[in-house]
């Protein structure tokens, strides 16, 4: 590894010397560029880290064949990714290109660890207007050049079991939150629950309550970026979530300890629950043995009279590490990964949505489910707060929600007063 880095560093300086005056035009780099190896940290999108390696390999080989630039890919599990990025940021020793959760964009932008895509750079990789507008909004703070571009777009949908709905005589997916609760109560039997949630997962909790609070007209940060956690709307949003367990009783209290990011989905796949709120999951559900004919997906409904918000703008962004010694090659790689054919191929395999408009003309993305998700992303999705404190916000409020769910699961009702106190406490800790 070390040796490789040194050799590649030597190679780069040779290339740089031979290119002096060429303005970094990649087409002219010719044979010398073959010695450049980019380090790429990919996030875990497939069913396992090995699966990701397999999915990415043909694409990376195609890139190497076309440009002569080699790519050394490492798939980093989600539990490690942010820590690895922070460590790389602090030491300056990191990958050349990396995937980031798009909700971290503003926080990581604030560290200065990622290269800004100014207008000229954007043009170089094909222009900003190629991307979905919604996903592009989640690439950094407003008014600053983004430090990442969308790679895989995702949105939350309400997955429901069509067979169970039909059996219970429910013909339409719920249109309002009250419909959802009513359907959930109908579907809850001694063997099965109306809805499963990943209640021990900080990130799932924060994504869910953020959407619910948006539905209630709430907001966790004001326009000036100041935290406004403890508002009646945010309390109502969190209560809407906790009530699944404590009042509506359509969710198994045991869900409060589900934390590895697959348990709620597994319950849905095996028929232990009739609904689940999840990001593009069709592929995983089939892998878990669910009959594709039973899988229905609809937007997560809002309470009657609430804001029509169904999801956060979820997804994975692609960024270039500021300390890279191969900026040009890294940008070539970004252009390749966001090119239409690569987008069709990778998003098709992973079950996510392409981040570029053009890819949607491909027949693979003309299905009902993709159209549902695309319309959610186009019209009903809100980006997570684009403030530097976003990651802290996710951790603090997500943890508070996790603890409140645990309390509700143990049979103690969490009152609005208690939610309000938890939010105030979380906001005080953010100030540190």
């Amino acid at each position: 590894m070390r040796l490789k880095r040194i050799t590649s560093a030597v190679a780069v300086s040779l290339v740089a010397a031979s290119l002096a005056g060429c303005g970094g035009n990649e087409e002219t780099s010719g044979g010398a560029a073959e010695d450049v190896t980019l380090t790429y940290w990919a996030s875990n999108q497939g069913t396992s880290l090995e699966n990701d390696q397999e999915v990415l390999k043909p694409q990376l080989d195609a890139f190497t064949a076309a440009t002569g630039i080699k790519v050394d890919v490492e798939v980093v599990p989600w539990s490690d990714l942010l820590n690895r990025i922070l460590a790389a940021t602090a030491s300056g020793e990191g990958p050349d290109v990396l995937n980031i959760g798009n909700t971290w964009s503003a926080s990581l932008q604030a560290t200065g660890a990622l290269k800004p895509f100014d207008d000229a750079t954007m043009t170089e990789i094909g222009g900003a207007d190629r991307f979905l507008a919604g996903s592009l909004a989640a690439t950094g703070a407003e008014g600053q050049p983004p430090t990442a571009v969308p790679l895989y777009s995702l949105a939350y949908g309400l997955y429901y079991n069509k067979a169970m709905f039909a059996e219970a005589g429910i013909t339409e997916p719920p249109a309002t939150w009250a419909d959802l609760i009513a359907a959930g109560k109908k579907l809850t039997t001694p063997e099965r629950w109306g809805m499963s949630i990943e209640g021990g997962s900080v990130s799932e909790n924060i994504h869910n309550v953020f959407v619910f609070s948006e539905q209630q007209g709430g907001s966790f940060f004001d326009d000036a970026g100041k935290p406004t956690f403890d508002t009646p709307e945010n309390v109502a949003g969190i209560k809407q979530y906790l009530d699944l367990i404590q009042t509506d009783k359509i969710t198994n209290p045991s869900n409060a300890e589900y934390s590895n990011g697959t348990e709620a989905l597994a319950d849905f796949a095996s028929g232990k629950s009739a609904m689940v709120m999840w990001q593009a999951a069709a592929g995983s559900l089939e892998e878990l043995g669910m009959d594709p004919a039973d899988i229905g997906v609809a937007p997560i409904p809002a309470p009657a009279g609430g804001e029509d918000v169904a999801s956060i703008v979820a997804g994975i962004n692609l960024a270039v590490f500021e300390n890279t010694e191969h900026e040009q090659q890294a940008l070539d790689f970004v252009e390749f990964m966001t090119s239409t054919p690569t987008q069709i191929e990778l998003n098709g395999t992973y079950g996510s949505l392409p981040a570029v408009q053009e890819a949607y003309s491909d027949p693979a993305f003309q299905t009902e489910a993709v159209e549902t998700f695309k319309s959610i992303l186009d019209t009903r999705a809100v980006p997570m707060p684009a403030v530097p404190e976003e990651s802290q916000f996710e951790t603090l409020v997500g943890t508070a929600v996790k603890n409140m769910l645990a309390q509700a699961a143990s049979g103690t009702v969490v009152t609005e007063q208690a939610i309000s106190e938890q939010l105030a406490a979380a906001q005080q800790q953010l100030a540190g």
């Binding site: 951790t395 143990s410 540190g432």
Partner: protein, 326 residues
């Protein structure tokens, strides 16, 4: 402490030299040798312990948030701001730290007591030879030999509410309760963590006590038996006094390990522990890595270090005083 050892050895070497003149030059030559041999240790000690510790202390006086982690030198000085922030016990952050501190104190005391009692009982049982003693001792040491991650993850599977083995046995088979209790969240999570930690820790105490007991002369037990002492009395008047110095070190080490425990709760609960089992090192991790505020995280670490130093100093002082009395 370490530097004192090799010096006399070098002196002995020099004295064996044949002529006085050669001995003097050789002594001069050899004088630097012990220090040279020590150099790697000193450098490693500096690099691995002292310097990171000093950097940590330095960080605690900086406003080291995500804006500055790329370039620490640019981080503005916070003075005692970080300390003031973590110690404001009337605010949520200070309350959380205090809560975490008390949780850790209770956790440590209970774990220490249980581990030591268990280890003591097991060591006494296996002190005298019987058929299969080696096997029993080996079985006792298994938890210590297993990789932490694998064993603790297994515990967390066993303690799941719906599919865990513990609830299956308690509720389905024995019918102890009708309601399936939670073990990984809520009040029970504190006790679940204690069970796992004791299970992890007691074999070490067992090992140390067994080693200590093996050096107690059999005559002392014989003499006690002749004087009419039963098992309990010979434990009280022979075993325990002989183990004084072992226990002194053992309890201190167990205390420090338990108080700082991170791997077990992190593997057991994941990134954020339930409030009821929020141990101090997890709390500090949450406040630095997870919320990207390395300044306050470092301030808490420094406070933890000071606390542990103080406890250690007082403990050593107290136990030494008893030595003098005896």
């Amino acid at each position: 402490m370490i530097t004192a050892n090799p010096a006399p050895e070098a002196g002995t070497e020099a004295r064996t030299g044949s002529s006085p003149v050669r001995a003097v030059t050789r002594r001069k030559k050899r004088q630097w040798l012990p220090y040279l041999l020590l150099l790697p240790v000193v450098v490693a000690e500096l690099l691995i312990h002292i310097i990171p510790m000093l950097i940590g202390v330095g960080m605690s006086f900086l406003e080291l948030t995500q804006f500055y982690i790329r370039n620490w030198t640019a981080a503005p000085a916070a003075g005692v701001g970080n300390y003031r922030f973590v110690l404001q016990f009337d605010e949520a952050s200070g309350k959380a730290l205090l809560h975490s501190f008390w949780t850790t104190v209770q956790f440590t005391v209970i774990v220490l007591a249980l581990s030591w009692l268990l280890a003591m009982a097991a060591a006494i049982w296996t002190q005298h030879a019987f058929r299969g003693r080696g096997l029993v001792r080996t079985v006792f040491l298994v938890p210590y030999a297993l990789p932490v991650f694998a064993s603790v993850i297994t515990w967390s599977f066993m303690l799941q509410r719906d599919n865990g083995m513990v609830n299956h046995v308690l509720v389905d088979q024995l019918g102890v309760t009708d309601e399936r209790p939670f073990w990984l969240i809520g009040d029970n999570s504190f006790w679940a963590l204690i069970v796992v930690e004791v299970w992890r820790l007691w074999p070490f105490a067992f090992l140390a006590l067994t080693a200590g007991m093996s050096s107690i002369p059999a005559e002392q037990y014989e003499a006690a038996a002749i004087d009419g002492a039963g098992v309990l009395r010979s434990v009280r008047w022979v075993t325990l006094p002989n183990l004084r110095s072992v226990n002194q070190v053992l309890l201190l080490v167990l205390f420090l390990w338990t108080f700082n425990e991170f791997t077990v709760p992190y593997t057991f609960f994941g990134k954020s522990a339930p409030e009821q089992a929020d141990l101090i090192s997890m709390h500090i991790y949450q406040n630095s890595f997870v919320t990207w505020n390395f300044g306050t995280g470092s301030a808490m670490s420094v406070l933890l270090l000071l606390f542990l130093l103080a406890v250690t100093a007082v403990y050593l002082l107290l136990t030494r005083k008893k030595d003098v009395d005896a």
